[in-house]
Amino acid sequence: MIEVEHLTKRFGATTAVDDLSFTVHPGTVTGFLGPNGAGKSTAMRVIAGLARPTSGTTRVNGRPVAEHAAPLAEVGTLLAAGAAHPGRTARSHLLALAATHGLGRARVDEVLRLTGMETVADRRVGSYSMGMGQRLGLAAALLGDPRTIMLDEPINGLDPDGIVWVRRFLRSLAAEGRTVFLSSHLMSEMAQTADHLIVIGRGRLIADAPIEQVLAGVGASRVAVKTPDAQRLATALAAPDVTVTAVAHDELEVTGLDAAAIAAVARDLGVLLHELATHTASLEEAYLSLTDSAVEYTAVPAAAR
């Protein structure tokens, strides 16, 4: 369990994290989502004890990390791919880290096996691809068999096989009752991995809810209609709760009516339909509508200049 209470972190005049509070519960995979620069990494670094909060408190499994007798057994952390000396082998890197807690070769071999790194364990970390660096970071995070796992952008740089593997792996860790907390700036990643979402923008909490609820909150689905008689159909569909937008001369976008209702109107009218497709708001759209006002750097459309 991770508890963050009124966390604020400033760097000079910049406020990276602004009065952020949330709790990450065991047994679930919780996604920490926000645009680049939203303060995710900073918040995680404070939780891990690597940065001091300007104000507020963070606790892992009930205590600040520094107060645990065996921090590696409480929280496994992956911050910034690997973070290892390029001249050292993965095995030596892990052996050194394991040694701090009196863990030995057997446990290192175990995490190397868990992360599929046995064959490259005796190569220097500097020769690794980014994906292998991520696996090494994950292996390090697992060393102490921790109750809580906190990963900053763990999927960055992984190949498709690796992504699927990490997802399954994180899900299995959560299924064992552990707390799994991972950050990403990509909503699509979270859709397939997380049960719960904590969304931040500009250092502030935007949403803290189960993933379905975040999606549902973003509102109605829309229906795309293709018909040679767009004008006539649009007039017939018009109603107070219905929005009809002409996307092209033969295409409409309708919200407020479902596909069945639109088809019925078209039949009564004798209008031919070429296409009728329902688009549920995607996670990306949900995310964009949530963080729209909270993106630190927004590209200004050319026309608006």
């Binding site: 701090t100 807690h101 009196g102 102490g144």
Partner: protein
């Protein structure tokens, strides 16, 4: 969140072994594993030994080749350069060669960790931090002292047979020899600790090396050039002062040795106190 659900997972190899828990001995062991698993450690150690041994070989050359040419009395030349017990003098010079490289080693112990991002991984595992710095200082001191001592003893053993042939032999067990070896070993140990402590204040290896070598190597050669007060100040620089530690007491007396040692110790303590305070507080 009942404890039973969060701790029910399998802990396999961990429960079979000892309880995973931080101790200072374990953290020091981790630092030792780090040191012996990177090439730079071996390079600095090898370079130090190469320098000291090459120097000793140079002395050997003087002893064995020079007499035939234009040095009428090699024994006199040697006594002139290295004192009544030249073997010990050569051993003392080994520390002079060793200390700059030991300082480099001391810097690398901490600076590569910061510059590669490894420090974040380390401090996430040991979030209390102070033991990490302390362990690094211990490893730095022990390795620095080992390199210096091995270099000095090797130099001595290399030149000893030839010196003995000239009637200038001495023993490593002479009180003077023991004092030079102990003092020199302490000197490189303190230099290593100070270098690691100072390097921990910097984010990059280049900046850390610049600061440490500037203070320990460059300053002692440049500051004496300042007219009037330069010489006085130079005596209080850590390396210049500390070098008194491996002068034979029978030749220079104990007072300058103790003073020099205390000056170096003061610098080292100062560096460690500042490093300890900032290492604990700063964001990584």
């Amino acid at each position: 969140m009942s404890a039973s659900t969060t701790t029910a997972h399998a802990v396999d190899s961990i429960t079979r072994g000892s309880v995973p828990r931080l101790t200072f001995a374990r953290i020091t062991r981790a630092e030792w594993i780090k040191t012996r698993s990177v090439r730079s450690s071996y390079w600095t150690a090898a370079a130090t030994l190469a320098f000291t041994v090459l120097f000793a070989a140079g002395v050997l050359l003087l002893v064995s080749v020079a007499p035939a040419a234009d040095v009428p009395d090699p024994a006199a030349v040697i006594v002139d350069s290295y004192g009544e017990a030249p073997g010990i003098g050569v051993a003392g010079f080994a520390f002079l060669f060793a200390y700059a490289l030991v300082a480099v080693f001391g810097v690398l112990v901490v600076s590569t960790e910061r510059s590669t991002g490894l420090l974040a991984t380390t401090l996430a595992a040991v979030p209390r931090r102070t033991p990490v710095l302390a362990a690094k200082l211990v490893v730095s001191a022990v390795v620095g002292m080992a390199i210096g001592l091995i270099g000095a003893v090797a130099s001595f053993l290399l030149v000893q047979p030839q010196l003995a042939a000239l009637g200038l032999g001495s023993s490593l067990l002479d009180p003077d020899a023991l004092q030079v070896l102990a003092g020199g070993t302490l000197f490189v140990g303190l230099i290593a600790v100070m270098s690691t402590a100072i390097a921990s204040l910097f984010r990059g290896t280049a900046a850390a090396l610049g600061a440490v070598l500037g203070l320990l190597v460059l300053a002692p050669t440049l500051i004496p050039i300042i007219p009037g007060i330069g010489g006085e100040i130079a005596g209080f620089l850590p390396s210049s002062a500390g070098m008194m530690l491996f002068q034979p007491a029978t030749q220079v007396g104990w007072q300058p040795i103790v003073t020099g040692g205390l000056v170096l110790l003061g610098w080292t303590i100062g560096a460690v106190v500042v490093a300890g305070a900032l290492f604990k507080r700063r964001d990584v």
